[in-house]
């Protein structure tokens, strides 16, 4: 088990390195840098001015060197301007050049600065992740119990009326992407045209104060899309368990049906959905981006869109590191959890 986790961690770090390098490469293509220089500096810059602007900020170095600096394995660039003022990657605004550390990168805990928000990437990411954390928590609290109940009810009597109805419901929910259900919900419950106005169509106020009125629609919108898939997996696993020998034995012994479902079937039927729920978290990230944009909730997903559309290189890298680690960590947890929950694998 220890070796297994170690090997997975190794693959995880390799994957993260590859992915951040790809993001680094794509964001550092010259057209992107030129756009960055023009938006940050001056739109009427000449080509030479763009070159020198980029050069003074260390963008003109070769790509592997820049990546090494960002990681913190190569010394940060130092640039001496014509007037003798020394600037560099590791030299903060009010710091003497001699005091600055040689290395400053992700390994040293320095994530760089956002060019759009004018703040350090670490501050932005941690603040926005906190906001998204509340959203995810609420989504999980709605989605997981809902999906499990739906799946268990559908799977306990395969082929019954209840099964047919609930399966169709879960198919419908997997067919409704967030931007469709969100639009429908806002039109129905928040627009002045229909006039119900039960909830709010934006969640901006939920960033300070979460209430029933401003948080319901975003949570339901995300939960709905993921729910159907988990419910179908639970149903499949439940129907399989219900045909097992030991369930038949229990029935022949005369155990009541509710008891069979709750005490005998449920525990074994929930192993597979656990994996699915963990693997669903990366997909929720997509939903979060869409919903945060639609409802204007300025969390992690909203930050991703802002960083990507403004080519905010260091913020984008920070965001991708976090999301890649979320994906890989959930995969690891689901693998370990599967082994742990399933006695057949654990003991052998």
């Amino acid at each position: 088990m220890g070796l297994f986790i170690l090997r997975r961690l190794g693959v995880m770090i390799l994957t993260a390195l590859c992915l951040t390098f790809i993001v680094f490469y794509l964001t550092n293509l010259y057209p992107n840098l030129e756009k960055l220089a023009k938006t940050q500096g001056n739109f009427r810059m000449s080509d030479e001015a763009v070159q020198s602007w980029l050069g003074a900020r260390g963008y003109m170095e070769p790509l592997p060197v820049k990546y090494g600096e960002w990681l913190g394995v190569l010394p940060g660039y130092v640039n001496e301007a014509d007037d003798g003022k020394i600037t560099g990657r590791c030299i903060a605004v009010n710091m003497a050049p001699e005091d600055a550390p040689t290395f400053c990168g992700v390994i040293q805990g320095y994530w760089g600065n956002s060019t759009v928000f004018k703040d350090s990437v670490w501050n932005i990411v941690s603040k926005r992740l906190g906001l998204t954390g509340w959203l995810m928590l609420a989504v999980m609290m709605v989605m997981v119990p809902g999906a499990l109940i739906l799946g268990v009810l559908a799977g306990m009597r395969e082929g019954s009326k209840l099964d047919r109805t609930l399966s169709t419901v879960s198919i419908a929910s997997t067919a409704t992407p967030e931007y469709v259900s969100g639009v429908i919900f806002i039109a129905l419950f928040a627009s002045s045209a229909v006039g119900l106005k039960w909830f709010k169509g934006t969640a901006t106020s939920a960033m300070d104060d979460i209430t029933w009125v401003n948080f319901t629609l975003p949570v339901i919108t995300i939960a709905l899309y993921g729910m159907g898939y988990i419910a179908r997996m639970t149903r499949a696993s439940m129907t399989e368990v219900m045909t097992a020998q030991y369930i038949r034995t229990a029935r022949l012994k005369g155990v009541s049906f509710p008891n069979i479902v709750l005490k005998h079937a449920l525990r074994n039927a929930l192993i597979a959905p656990f994996t699915v729920i963990m693997l669903q978290i990366p997909w929720l990230l997509n939903g979060v981006v869409i919903v945060e944009t639609l409802f204007n909730y300025k969390g992690f997903g909203w930050t991703l869109v802002q960083a990507a559309s403004n080519n905010d290189i260091e913020l984008l890298l920070g965001v991708s590191v976090v999301s890649v680690f979320v994906v890989l960590l959930t995969q690891l947890i689901s693998d370990i959890g599967y082994v742990y929950l399933n006695p057949r694998i654990r003991i052998s």
């Binding site: 794509l26 198919i171 639009v183 806002i186 039109a187 045209a193 869109v305 080519n311 991708s320």
Partner: protein, 398 residues
């Protein structure tokens, strides 16, 4: 003129779709009549869920065909703006309709005074063109790489699986933003990716035919030359276009140019989908290669590619067909996501994602421009999922 009531709108919309209803009834009549002779497709008509799904999918397919090729169904030009129709509610009459012009905006006007109904109808064409084709390409890539990975295992499998997991670990939306921005498009990366991804159908077709007919050169050589010639011409015409880094093919032989927006969207959707197909095919190949008929073929002395493509692949068709239907639906959702973030396709394009993105800004005051495309997308994906469910049930039965 008076605006229409809801009942009148419904009646007019239904009559506008007349050619689609006729085509649907004809399809169903013929299919049910001959269903015993049609294999898996015929069996679909034994399951109610499958039939409902098939009906919805074919509804949008016929809508796309009739509106795209025959200029039927849509009432107005999807890009035409008519004064006085900005944000008007469904059923509003035109102020001064010209002779022969449809006198109403059935689903109202959007914030640029365009007809919501016509945009929704013509949007189906874009979705119906890109989604199935992109899924076919993703399957070609996934099958061509997944079969050897599952069959040989070992280092090849480790490497390919690592690459597939690498792409899957990327948040889809971040990938889209990185690939589809104008700066990246200008650098030509999507064109190189297209050149890479579009070669897989050629490899697939070549290996498929060669492994089967390699002992009959008299048949093999002309067949291969013909098929690869046609596919190669299509391939070169697709990847080589004016004004992109890949532009070497003479214009006289260049059959068509794909608009760069559509090409970029197409490439990124194929790119995102193929690793999942790869994993499914790999899993199926690993399972099936232990069967007796594979061992029998090996004893007969068949080559590895013959076994992969003519023994393993046909026996994996059930799950693959089901996944194909589901994946078209997923691709439709991805296309909508791209449109929702305003990536790739031009902003005035009538595809459903862009229209939803357009309509969402005024959603709480005027919900009617965003709802029809949203419901259209929902119904198409639902239809595909129901169809997949019906197919799964029927293919499990035998």
């Amino acid at each position: 003129m008076e605006p229409l009531t809801w009942g009148e709108i419904a009646l007019r919309v239904i009559s506008q779709f007349t050619p689609v209803w006729i085509a649907l009834i004809a399809t169903f009549y013929l299919s049910i009549r001959f269903k015993r002779k049609l294999g898996l497709y015929g069996k679909l008509f034994d399951s109610t869920i499958g039939m409902i799904g098939f009906a919805i999918v074919m509804f949008w397919f016929f809508t796309a065909v009739f509106s795209g090729f025959f200029d039927m169904i849509a009432t107005h030009d999807p890009l035409g703006q008519i004064s006085g129709m900005k944000n008007k509610v469904p059923g509003t009459a035109l102020r001064s309709p010209d002779e022969g012009e449809y006198a109403y905006y059935l689903f109202g006007g959007d914030n640029l005074a365009r007809d919501v109904f016509s945009r929704m109808v013509l949007g189906s064409g874009i979705v119906m063109m890109i989604a199935p084709l992109a899924t076919v390409f993703a399957f070609m890539v996934g099958i061509t790489l997944g079969l050897p990975a599952g069959f040989y295992g070992g280092r090849l499998d480790t490497l390919l699986s690592f690459l597939a997991n690498l792409i899957l670990a990327f948040p889809v939306i971040l990938l889209f933003y990185l690939l589809v921005t104008p700066e990246i498009v200008a650098s030509g990366i999507p064109n190189y990716m297209a050149a890479f991804l579009f070669i897989f159908p050629l490899i697939f077709a070549g290996v498929l035919l060669n492994s089967r007919y390699r002992i009959q050169p008299a048949k093999n050589v002309p067949l291969l030359a013909g098929v690869l010639g046609v596919l190669g011409l299509l391939y070169l015409s697709t990847i080589s276009a004016e004004g992109t880094p890949i532009n070497f093919w003479p214009t006289s032989l260049d059959l068509y140019d794909i608009p760069s927006g559509i090409l970029v969207v197409f490439v990124s959707v194929v790119f995102v989908n193929s690793p999942t197909v790869f994993r499914i095919v790999r899993g199926l190949a690993m399972d099936i290669k232990t069967r007796d008929y594979v061992a029998a073929a090996q004893t007969r002395g068949e080559g590895p590619w013959y076994i992969m493509l003519w023994e393993i692949l046909p026996n994996a068709r059930g799950p693959l067909i089901v996944d194909f239907c589901l994946r078209i639906g997923y691709t439709t959702i991805l296309l909508g996501t791209l449109g929702f973030f305003g990536l790739g396709l031009p902003p005035e394009s009538p595809d459903w994602g862009s229209t939803i993105n357009d309509g969402r800004k005024l959603l709480s005051i005027y919900p009617h421009p965003a709802l029809p495309p949203a419901l259209a997308l929902l119904s198409l994906v639902l239809g595909l999922n129901l169809l997949a469910d019906g197919l799964r049930e029927e293919s499990l039965r035998d």
